[in-house]
């Protein structure tokens, strides 16, 4: 049984001009101890997915259809109370802007202790102290800074504190939503290494949400590329990065500089299969307007899933001209 099984998830928002779909027919699975990366430009719905996993959609958002199974139980069926007990204990989150993720009027340590205490009411005071020291140790923040206020921390420290907070209840899954966006490159690198270390040490699973393909590439085994609420390509890291199929992925990759240089996915490009899955999507391809390779059919007929390998698929009806 996979740790997380998202099936055909569709999320929409109420707006003044009617409901607007933000995430459409998204399905994926995540095994224990694995890291999944979701890549896409801002507004593509990747954060919405993260939020839906915690049951924290904004007040005007709602799940239209689909299921979210965590260890086999349906998250969407949980009551408010069950959901509260579930959050952080099972799935925790590292938020986008660590600057704002910490409450400015409370001491950082207190904010972390708060989470531990809620989910482990049986813990003694010493036990909690021990836990928090361990956590700070893990994220390399000196112990004497535990009970400082957030404004006394540097940006990187705040981010590490947020990570410590996310790990405080030993969750099975950590969602990291743009954990490094606001930081400078050096600190970014440190943070990502830290995350990788911790993953290795604690063996937790993770979902890594970023618009920065380089960051994702570094941390994750599986990659999902999203465009306008839909997954356009998903597969193993090597598959997606080495042999991208969807024109959007290609565009994304070719525009990105890694620390080692431009992604070099043309080098040893494997044969790409052209098997279309039978299920069709309603509506035409959202990328067609911007796609450099769009053909007439792209503007009239809906796109199709193409299975390149059992683990690698893309939502595009173009075939055989992906170079």
């Amino acid at each position: 049984m996979p740790l997380l099984d998202v099936d055909n998830l569709t999320i929409a928002y109420h707006t003044r001009s009617g409901p607007v779909t933000a995430v459409e027919n998204v399905s994926f699975r995540l095994e224990r101890g694995k890291f999944l990366g979701i890549v896409g430009e801002s507004g593509c719905g990747k954060t919405t997915i993260g939020m839906s996993l915690l049951g924290l959609l904004p007040e005007n958002g709602f799940v239209r259809e689909g299921r979210i199974l965590f260890e086999g139980s349906d998250l969407l069926a949980l009551s408010q109370k069950e959901l509260q007990a579930f959050r952080w204990k099972k799935i925790s989150m590292i938020f986008q802007a660590a600057m704002n993720a910490l409450n400015p009027v409370h001491r950082v340590g207190d904010q972390i202790i708060e989470a531990i205490r809620i989910h482990n009411p049986e813990f003694s005071e010493e036990r909690i102290q021990k836990e928090i020291k361990e956590l700070y140790d893990l994220v390399d923040i000196p112990e004497q800074r535990i009970f400082d206020y957030p404004h006394q921390y540097s940006g990187g420290m705040k981010q590490r504190a947020v990570i410590a907070m996310a790990l405080s209840c030993r969750p099975d899954l950590v969602i990291a939503d743009e954990p490094t966006t606001a930081l400078d490159v050096i600190v970014q690198d440190q943070i990502i290494r830290k995350i990788k270390d911790i993953q290795r040490q604690r063996g937790i699973a993770g979902i890594f949400i970023s618009h920065d393909i380089g960051v994702v590439a570094e941390a994750c085994q599986d990659i999902m590329v999203m465009y306008r609420g839909k997954i356009v390509e998903q597969g193993k890291r090597e598959e997606v990065f080495v042999a991208p199929v969807h024109p959007y992925t290609i565009a994304l990759l070719s525009s990105h500089l890694t620390i080692d240089g431009v992604f070099d996915f043309h080098a040893d490009k494997p044969e790409v299969a052209c098997d279309f899955s039978p299920d069709f999507f309603a509506g035409v391809c959202g990328y067609a307007e911007s796609c450099s390779r769009a053909e007439a059919q792209c503007f009239t007929a809906p796109p199709k899933w193409r299975e390149i390998t059992p683990t690698h698929k893309a939502l595009c009806r173009l075939c055989g001209q992906n170079d």
């Binding site: 109420h14 707006t15 003044r16 049951g55 924290l56 959609l57 007040e59 005007n60 958002g61 709602f62 799940v63 408010q80 959901l83």
Partner: protein, 322 residues
Amino acid sequence: MTITSNRHAAYSMENVIDKKTRRSYKRQRFSAGWSLFYKNMVGKIGLYLLILFGAMALASYIPPLVDPMYHPMTGVDPLISYASPPSWRHWLGTDNIGRDIFSQLLTGARVAFLVGVSAAFISIVLGTLIGMIAGYGGRIADSLLMRFADMIMVMPSLLVILLLSVLFGQLSIWIIVILIALFRWPAVARVIRSQTLTLKKRPFVDMARVAGASHIRIIFRHILPNVLPMALLYMTFRVTSAIIVEAALAFLGFGDPNTVSWGMMLQWVWKTGHMFQAPYWLLPPGICISLITLSFYMMGRAMEEVLDPRLRKIQKADYAAS
């Protein structure tokens, strides 16, 4: 997209977009704002109340034309020389010397509008100017003006005006209006200043400066139109406080004796000993003062929600994390 940021965009592209589109855009923006305003229950109640008071103010010209005895100040019923309860002849009764309370009430609406709107207008003009100068002018002007504003803000305006009236004698209604305005601008200035500070950093201001526009031109042509909605919003709040201060002054007996304002009416009912005997005389002016301030306040709050993009985001709230 929010209305405010659209607005900045619209003005920054001043020369790019032709006038026609701009006008239609403005109209669209207005109607969007209007529908939002109208959906707001608070705003709607406020608007209806305000229309009611506006109608009262306009109607105040009618009674003296019907019969001179309905003149709010000088007209008395030849047959009634005491406070009388409502009747067909006097819908809300008469005061102790036989004047018609209903026509006084209508005139009170006129005075309230006059006092409220003119005092608010003056304080808005002052506040906007000072706020823009402080925000645009830079550090010295800014800190001087804002310290000054803070100082005025801690002054209890009603008591200061009372003190002035003891020093200078009875104040006329216009002096009262001006004094109220002089004590009510700082809050406006603060808001306008902070708006100006953000506007100053926007590219269109830089563009205008590069293009050689003078400071005055930048302030009036580029900054003013953008802070105007906020100033208008604050005007509604200023109206309420002006009306309250005038009413309180009149109630305490320091109002202009030649004006029939609601505060004046309360003062009459109080000082002539009819307070607890003539509810038909005591209740209407008090209710009117409370309601007119309420209506302006409600309008202001509704406008605030229309204008403030951050508040607007929260629309339908089915809370409890759906």
